[in-house]
Symmetry: C2
Subunit: 407 residues, 2 copies
C-alpha cells in the first residue's frame, strides 16, 4: 500500500492556512490574491513531483503525471467561504497531492498515478460549481460572462483578468483516462464525532436548490406614512420566512434542511420604510423528487405572497445541484481500507453538502470520504479536525487510491 508522510500532510495544510489567515481559519475567496497564491503553491508542489501542471482559464489547477498506466483523478478545492475554516477544500487537495506522492513512491504501483485537480470556486462565490463544471465541459462562455462575485459584485471576467488567467484555454477532463474521481473532505457535521467514528464512506451527495427572493414595496418616511398605506418590503420578507417555517416541516424528508442565509433591506435606514428586500434561501435533500415537490411548494408560497400583496414578490433560481450517487466500488475501496487499518471505525452516510464529486460523477465513477469535524462546526473560522484524524484520513485516502488503481 502507498504510505503517506504524516508530517508533510500537516505541514502542507498549515502552510495553506497562512494564505489569507483569519483567526484560526482563512479568508480566501475564489480568485483572490490568497487563492492565487494557493494555486501557485500547488503547482510548485506537483511540478516537483514530476506532474505537468496547468492553471486554466477558469482557475482550475490540473497536475497530470507523465505515465501510461491506470490513473485516478483526485482533488477538491483551495478557495474558502468568506472568513471561514482552514480545512474545507484544502484537506481534499492535500490528500490527493500526498496520495500522488505516495503512489509514485510505491513500487507495486509503478506506471499508475494519481492526477490532482483543484477545482475553482466550489464555494460558489461566482456561481454554481463553475470550476468542476468547466472541467467536465458543461460550463458555457456566456455563463462566465454573466457571473459576478456575490459579495463584491466583481464580474468573474474581471477577476480572471486580474488573476492573469483571462484568455487562457479551459481544460476538459477525459473520463476515459481515469478509473474515476475521488474526493476527501471534512464532514461538516457531527455524525462521525458523535458516533466515535473516523471515516465516513459517502453513499450519495445531497442536491440543493438556491433562490433569491425579491420583495418590491414602496420606500417612504417611517414617521409620516400611515400604517394602512404602507408597502413595507421588510415585513413582506419576514412574513415569507415564517410561512416557509410553517409549511416546510409538513412536507420535508427526514434529512431535509432549509436556510435563509441572507436578508437585505433597502435602503436599510431606521427611519425609512424598506422599499425593497432580498432573501437568499436554499434547501437540500438527497431525493430529487422531494426537491421538486419542495420547490413547487416554495413557488406556490411566493406566488400567493405576490397575489395577496401589498408587495410584489418574485423568485430567481440560483444554484441547482442535483443529488448524486457515489460509485459502489469506490465506497467498497474506502470501506475496506478503513476496516483494514482500524476495524469498525467507518460508516456509510450521505453528504448533506454539495461537492465537486457530484459534478464529476456525471462523466465518470466518483467517490468521497469524510473525516470528523470537531463539534460538527464548519463554514466558520473555528472549523477543525484533530491532527490524528487528519493523518489517519490521509492514509485511508492513499490506501483506497492504491486499491482503486490496482483494480
Amino acid at each position: 500500500m502507498p504510505t503517506i508522510d504524516a508530517e508533510r500532510v500537516l505541514r502542507d495544510l498549515r502552510y495553506l492556512r497562512t494564505l489569507g489567515a483569519y483567526k484560526t481559519g482563512v479568508h480566501r475567496p475564489a480568485l483572490s490574491p490568497e487563492h492565487l497564491a494557493s494555486m501557485n503553491w500547488l503547482k510548485t508542489e506537483l511540478e516537483s513531483l514530476g506532474h505537468e501542471v496547468t492553471i486554466d482559464g477558469i482557475g482550475n489547477v490540473f497536475g497530470i503525471a507523465p505515465v501510461e498506466g491506470r490513473k485516478l483523478l483526485g482533488g477538491s478545492h483551495l478557495e474558502s467561504q468568506n472568513y471561514a475554516g482552514w480545512l474545507d477544500g484544502p484537506l481534499g487537495v492535500v490528500y490527493a497531492l500526498e496520495a500522488a506522492r505516495a503512489v509514485k513512491a510505491d513500487a507495486p504501483l509503478a506506471g499508475c498515478a494519481v492526477d490532482v485537480a483543484a477545482w475553482c470556486d466550489e464555494e460558489g462565490h461566482f456561481g454554481n460549481f463553475v470550476g468542476s463544471r468547466s472541467g467536465i465541459g458543461q460550463l458555457s462562455e456566456e455563463e462566465i460572462d454573466a457571473a459576478v462575485d456575490r459579495t463584491s459584485g466583481t464580474p468573474m471576467r474581471d477577476a480572471l483578468e486580474a488573476a492573469g488567467l483571462g484568455g487562457r484555454p479551459r481544460v476538459v477532463v477525459d473520463p476515459a483516462r481515469y478509473v474515476g474521481f475521488f474526493e476527501a473532505h471534512i464532514e461538516q457535521g457531527d455524525w462521525l464525532e458523535a458516533n466515535k467514528l473516523k471515516i465516513g464512506v459517502v453513499s450519495a451527495i445531497v442536491g440543493s436548490r438556491n433562490f433569491r427572493i425579491i420583495f418590491e414595496g414602496t420606500q417612504n418616511h417611517a414617521g409620516t406614512t400611515r400604517m394602512a398605506i404602507r408597502r413595507d418590503a421588510g415585513v413582506a420578507c419576514a412574513r415569507l420566512v415564517m410561512a416557509i417555517e410553517q409549511l416546510f416541516p409538513t412536507i420535508c424528508g427526514e434529512r431535509t434542511v432549509w436556510t435563509t442565509g441572507r436578508v437585505t433591506l433597502s435602503p436599510g435606514d431606521p427611519s425609512i420604510i424598506p422599499g425593497r428586500a432580498e432573501m437568499l434561501f436554499q434547501f437540500r435533500d438527497t431525493d430529487a423528487a422531494l426537491l421538486d415537490r419542495m420547490e413547487a411548494a416554495l413557488r406556490d408560497l411566493v406566488a400567493r405572497a405576490d397575489r395577496e400583496g401589498p408587495c410584489k414578490v418574485t423568485l430567481e433560481q440560483q444554484r441547482k445541484g442535483m443529488p448524486a450517487q457515489m460509485a459502489e466500488h469506490f465506497q467498497a475501496a474506502v470501506e475496506a481500507s478503513a476496516e483494514a487499518r482500524r476495524p469498525g471505525c467507518h460508516t456509510r452516510m450521505p453528504s448533506g453538502v454539495g461537492h465537486d464529486a457530484q459534478v464529476l460523477a456525471r462523466i465518470m465513477p466518483a467517490g468521497m470520504m469524510f473525516v470528523p469535524s470537531i463539534g460538527g462546526i464548519s463554514h466558520h473560522w473555528t472549523e477543525n479536525t484533530s491532527d490524528e484524524d487528519i493523518v489517519f484520513g490521509a492514509q485511508i485516502y492513499a490506501d483506497a487510491a492504491g486499491r482503486l488503481l490496482k483494480g
Copy 2:
C-alpha cells in the same frame, strides 16, 4: 411685513443641492466634506448680512445679529439622510436665512433680528439630536465620546477632528434672548397635498423610540446541521417582526407608526446558518403615555422570545425623542400669516417626524410650519416641493417671524 426675494430662496436651495448631489437629491451625511461645505456656505451668507458666525465644537452653525432689540431664533439642519432628498433640512435653514435678510431690510423691524442656527446631525447619523441638544446644554462630553456613525462606524470625535472642529468650544443658546425658536420643514407626508393646502401649522411633534434588537444563535453549516438542533438567529428575527405585526395594531393609537428599517444577518452567506441577527426598530406617537405602553409591550415580546428560545434575544434602546407641544402664539402667528396671504390654505396638524424644534421647545417657546411634499415622499432622492410652494412658504415664514418679533 418683511418681504422675501423668491429667486434668492430658490437659488440658495439649488446651490445647496450641488453639495453632495445624488440624482435629483443629495447624499450629505453629518460631518462629511459636503456637509462642511454647506456649513461654510451658510457662514459666508450670514457674514455678508452682518451676523457674527460661529461653527462650534459639535458642528452647529450660529449666526448672531449684532442688534439689541427682540430676536427670533430660526433654522433647521443642513446634513441629509444617506442618498435622500434635497429639502429635508436645508429648506428650514434657507427660510431662516431669508427671513433674517428680509427682517434686516424691513424698516418697521429696526433693531429686531432673526438669528440663524443650523443644528448638526438632526438626521441621527451619530446619535439622537446631538446638535440641538448640545445647543440647549443637554449633551455630555461622554455621549460625544461614545457616538459613532451608524453607517461607517467612524467615531464622532474622529469625524469632528477630520472636519477641523475637534477641541472647539460648544455654544449654548441663551433662551432669555429670544422670543422663541421657529423651524420650517417639508411635511414628509401627503396630508397637505391630498387636501390642496399650502401651509401646515404644527401643533405637536411626535415622540419616537428607537431600538436595536439582537438575536444570538449558533452559526453553522446550512447543509449538515439538522433542523432540530438549529439556533437560527435569522428565523428568530423574522418571528419577532411578525409578532410585532400581530400585536401592535391591537394596542396602537390612530396615528402610531412602527418600522423595522434594517435587518442584518451574520455572516450573511447563503450556505451558513445565521449565528447573529440585528434589527433596528422604531415607533412614534404624540402621546407619551401610549409610547410607554408600547415600549412595555415590545419589551414583553423580546423577553418572551428570549425565554422561549432557541436564540438569546436582547434589546438596546437607542434614540428616545419625547413628544413636544408647539407654543400656541407661534401657531397663531403662522396661521394668521397664511390666512392673510391665502385664506383657507392652512391647517393645524401634528408632525409625524421628530425635529430639532422639539428639543428647543424644552428651553423656549417653539413653533414649526410645513410646506407640501409632492406625493408625500421623503427620505428618498425623489423628495420634492414645487417652486411655487417653496416660495410661498418662505414668505409665510418671514411674515410669521415679523409677527412674532413685533410681539
